[in-house]
């Protein structure tokens, strides 16, 4: 498919394309920016909400522990002041305390008292009793502490003893209660403040798990409680667990967050960024920090990216976390993003459509105007223009176009009239030119009667008619008079002035005896009634055909040249008065120059030396003289043709500014006189 270049597209198409492009770029950028910012803000809000839910849930879980701790503290005080060392009394005290506390704190599953080595009495090495509620809700009382029952080595006993402070144990699975438990080991001291044993308060974590579930604010997360040393306490069972791959499955209490990271890595058989992050998160969680992390391949249940939000449970040093599959968590956000994109796209498409329709509607009058313009261009000035609706740009353009159409029609009519007039003038000028040409003496053969000289004359007017003149005639049989002149200005006025000069010269030639007189007479006649203040430079010479002597009078004309047969070039620089027609009754002088055999006098008007080339440089007198010097031995016609050719070559087609006139006369002494 051939696609036209953009510059050839219609205005509507170009306007639409540019507008659409700009719209797509600008609106697209705006949408992308809004989209990006919106998603960032929405995402941050999502994270904030999720983290806040985890913090709240952690705080709710945390609230369970101080109650046990203060109860344990009171219990220790009561024990110190109460039952003494009677086994039955002690058991009764323990049972009563349990019933009382269990009512207040339902997750409390059991209470135990374990005495340190021989701290119960001198005769008993190890003594431990505990009470608990069995599955049927019946209270059970148990005594432990035989010679082999060295419970004092167990963590719940030895750790608080060595640390000197009561502690929460790491969570553990209690087979009897069939639930996950943690034990608060309360230090027991005698009245002297000596360590005598530990009272253990077993707390079911089942309820805590339920509280942890509240952290899952979106309903599809996985809660996880991390113990003080990183053990994963609560983690939902996967109903679809695949037992065929046990190496890579983890259950509640099985793993720590760090061993889980190792499992993850082993599952992927490579060091994995998710596992590395998980270790970092684990350390942050154990350090009691709160925060959020996003990483992939965290859970065995999902393979995609996940987000983990965590907050500390400060009393026990545990940490609560919730993981959400990122895909699910951000599903609404993505749907919103998708809708935004769709709406943006739809908006742009609608705009595109609107732009195209509007551009086409807007450009329709232009198209009709274009068609009308073509019609007008074809000469149909009466074509109907599209109707004008409103005074908008199109309306104004149509108005202007209508005015232009009328003006064109009028102008064309005028042009036609002018053309007819000009044609008439042209034909009249042609007649004038012919008349002017007829006024000038015929050229070659100029004077077949004589051989005393040869002559060449030429006049090339710059316009239809010229202001230059030349003339030659015989005043008597031994003399030959030749004239050259140049009227100021050009065109018809100059031609008329030239004709007048020519006519006067012919009429006055018979009355005057010398060139100076003839010149003075013509001057006087021209100066009379010369309101237009025209003038003519004028050179007249009279050759004595016998001797070659020329008597001449120069009235402001360019100085003629005399090219001697031996190659010498002279300029007849004498000027005998101003140009004719300026000063009335001006008298003129005259001078004589003698031509020898083969000498040639060259007369010219300033159209020759002042001919301009396209660079506005003049042909110049020097070039003219140089040309003459190369014309020694040539005939006047050859020399004249050479001069005209040189000038033509010099001007290189530039418009001729002035009439070019030449008159060359070569004396031939051996020739016979008429």
């Amino acid at each position: 498919m051939h696609i036209r270049p953009f510059r050839d597209w219609s205005l509507a198409a170009r306007g639409s394309a540019i507008t659409v492009f700009l719209l797509v770029v600008i609106l697209g950028s705006v949408f992308v920016l809004i989209h990006y910012r919106f998603c960032r803000i929405a995402d941050a809000e999502l994270n904030r909400t999720a983290l806040m839910a985890v913090e709240l849930a952690a705080e709710r879980i945390n609230q369970n522990f101080p109650a046990i701790m203060s109860a344990a503290d009171e219990f220790a005080v009561a024990l110190r002041n109460g039952p003494g060392c009677d086994e039955d009394e002690l058991m009764e005290f323990l049972a009563e305390s349990f019933e009382h506390l269990h009512e207040a704190i339902p997750p409390l599953c059991a209470i135990s008292i374990a005495y340190d080595y021989r701290c119960f009495n001198e005769n008993t090495d190890y003594f431990m009793i505990y009470v608990y509620q069995d599955a049927d809700g019946k209270l059970r009382k148990v005594r432990r502490g035989g010679p082999a029952d060295r419970y004092t080595g167990f963590d719940w006993f030895v750790i608080p003893k060595l640390r000197g402070q009561s502690v929460w144990s790491e969570p553990y699975f209690d087979r009897v209660a069939d639930t996950m438990m943690t034990t608060y080991s309360q230090i027991l001291r005698d009245r002297q403040g000596r360590f005598i044993g530990i009272a253990g308060f077993d707390l079911s974590l089942e309820r805590l798990n339920r509280l942890a579930e509240r952290a899952d604010v979106f309903g599809y997360g996985q809660e996880m409680i991390l113990s003080r040393f990183g053990r994963i306490i609560a983690y939902p069972e996967n109903p679809e667990e695949d037992h065929s791959d046990p190496e890579f499955r983890a259950d509640v209490m099985d793993s720590t967050i760090f061993s889980y990271a190792d499992t993850l890595e082993k599952r992927l058989f490579t060091e994995n960024r998710g596992a590395r992050l998980l270790r970092d998160i684990g350390r942050a969680m154990l350090a009691g920090q709160k925060g959020m992390a996003s990483f992939s391949q965290l859970s065995p249940l999902t393979d995609g990216r996940e987000r983990l939000y965590y907050a500390p449970i400060p009393t026990t040093g545990w940490s609560l976390a919730v993981t959400y599959p990122e895909e699910q968590l951000t599903a609404n956000l993505h749907a919103l993003e998708h809708n935004l994109r769709l709406i943006s796209l739809l908006g742009i498409l609608l705009m595109l459509l609107a732009v195209v329709v509007i551009a086409r509607r807007q450009s329709a009058p232009l198209i009709r105007l274009t068609r009308a313009a073509r019609e007008i261009g074809g000469g149909n000035f009466h074509v109907e223009l599209p109707p004008v609706r409103g005074q908008n740009e199109i309306g104004q353009l149509t108005h202007a176009f209508g005015s232009m159409q009328q003006a064109l029609a009028r102008h064309t009519r005028e042009l036609q009239a002018n053309a007819a007039a000009r044609q008439k003038i042209e034909s009249e000028l042609q007649v004038a030119r012919e008349i002017q040409t007829d006024i000038l003496p015929r050229m070659l053969p100029p004077l077949p009667e004589t051989e005393a000289f040869s002559l060449y004359a030429s006049l090339n007017p710059a316009r239809a008619v010229g202001g230059d003149l030349y003339d030659f005639f015989y005043p008597d049989e031994n003399h030959f008079c030749f004239v050259i002149g140049d009227v100021s200005g050009k065109g018809i006025p100059a031609a008329l002035f030239m004709s007048m000069t020519q006519t006067l010269q012919r009429s006055e030639a018979e009355r005057a005896t010398t060139p100076a007189e003839l010149t003075a007479r013509i001057n006087t006649l021209l100066a009379d009634n010369n309101d237009s203040l025209m003038f003519v430079t004028y050179f007249i010479g009279v050759l004595d055909c016998r001797t070659g002597s020329i008597t001449f009078c120069n009235a402001g004309h360019n100085p003629p040249r005399v090219l001697r047969a031996d190659g010498a070039l002279e300029s007849l620089a004498e000027c005998h008065g101003p140009a004719l027609g300026i000063i009335k009754d001006q008298s003129y002088g005259e001078a004589t120059v003698t031509l020898n055999d083969g000498d040639m006098i060259v007369l010219y008007t300033d159209g020759v030396t002042e001919a301009l080339n396209p660079e506005k440089n003049e042909f110049g007198g020097a070039a003219f003289d140089e040309l003459l010097l190369h014309s020694v031995g040539r005939s006047p016609s050859e020399t004249g043709a050479a001069i005209l050719a040189a000038v033509k070559e010099f001007v290189r087609g530039a418009e001729q500014a002035d009439d070019i006139t030449l008159l060359l006369l070569k004396f031939n002494r051996k020739g016979k006189v008429r």
Binding site: V158, F173, F229, P246, E247, A250, D254, S255
Partner: protein
């Protein structure tokens, strides 16, 4: 004169027949239908993967053995089970087995599986404690060391007697919680077991300083397969078959770690013990490496040198006064020794 009535004769014949049948059935059952119990200490873990594997994949039965693999109930040792005739075979550390000979039992080593001691004394890296064990003694009683109270605690105790005699000993049953709670500066751990638990609690190896018992002339191998001396005397072939089956079970388990771990997991689940894949995987790898079964010549022989060292250590620590000679303690291996 013996006067027998017809009824009396018939009764005698009947009784003889019953006696003969009963004797025959008892003899047959003892020879072919006898089920043996292999008692494993402690709780299910990858330390026993080879036995699970042999039982699951018919390695015992292929050798004509019907073996039930069991773990001791909590609070009982494998030697208690032996004493109560609850088992025919058992797995125990060498030191514990020798010590048991002083408590009226006659455990006999059928196969020595572990080749080295995996016991470490591990502490947090801290100012003043260098890599040299000699630096420990400068802390005197301020250095609290949590050491197992049972047989396994012997080697760490001997180590402490040599390098930190004044250190405070804290007897512990098991676990690493005391150490994590900073109730002790050092703790005895098995490299294949509790050491990983330290790492799994977020402690990096760089934070720990370890003293391996094997590097301090305290390299007494651990797990071995034992039976009562009477059993060995009566059924030496069964004991040899048992040894071969256990070694093969271990070789196969190490060759198929995923399957071995599956079995470990199943045992854990059966007895309600947690199963941490990473932990058990670590244990299988490290314990398995200690068996040195890559060496095809390994046939479960107890080195006499190891036995002598163990006896000397136990005598020196006052835990035993006498010990059976090597031939009595490991008769099968003596007879097979090159």
């Amino acid at each position: 004169m013996f006067l027998l009535t017809m009824n009396g004769f018939v009764q005698i014949i009947q009784r003889c027949a019953v006696l003969l049948l009963t004797t025959a059935s008892v003899l047959t059952a003892d020879a072919a239908e006898k089920q043996y119990t292999l008692m494993l200490p402690w709780k299910p873990q990858a330390q026993f993967a080879g036995y699970y594997y042999a039982a699951e994949h018919g390695i015992f039965s292929r050798r004509g053995l019907d073996v039930e693999v069991r773990h001791t109930s909590p609070g009982n040792s494998v030697f208690d089970a032996l004493r109560k005739s609850e088992c025919d075979f058992l797995v125990a550390p060498l030191l514990a087995a020798i010590e048991a000979t002083n408590s009226g039992l006659e455990p006999v080593n059928i196969a020595q599986l572990s080749c080295n001691s995996s016991i470490l004394l591990v502490g947090r890296r801290r100012a003043g404690i260098g890599r040299e064990a000699e630096t420990l003694q400068r802390f005197g009683p301020d250095l609290r060391c949590a050491v197992w109270s049972g047989d396994s605690g012997l080697l760490p105790e001997l180590f402490l007697q040599r390098f930190a005699p004044a250190a405070t000993r804290i007897p512990i049953n098991d676990g690493i919680a005391l150490f994590l709670w900073e109730g002790a500066e050092f703790i005895s751990v098995m490299e294949y077991n509790e050491y990983y638990l330290l790492l799994a609690a977020g402690i990096s190896p760089g934070e720990l300083i370890c003293f391996r018992m094997r590097n301090f002339s305290l390299n007494i191998p651990e797990d071995g397969l034992y039976a009562d001396a009477g059993t060995v005397r009566r059924n030496p072939d069964v004991c040899r078959a048992m040894r071969a089956a256990v070694l093969e079970g271990w070789r196969e388990a190490l060759r198929n770690p995923a399957e071995a771990l599956r079995l470990v997991r199943r045992e854990c689940r059966k007895l309600d013990y947690p199963f941490d894949p990473a932990h058990q995987s670590w244990m299988l790898r490290h314990f398995g490496a200690d068996l040195e079964l890559n060496d095809p010549r390994r046939n479960g022989t107890l080195e006499q040198r190891n036995y002598t060292d163990a006896v000397q250590l136990l005598k020196r620590s006052g835990r035993i006064r006498t010990a059976p000679d090597f031939k009595t303690f490991a008769p099968l291996q003596v007879e097979e020794a090159p």
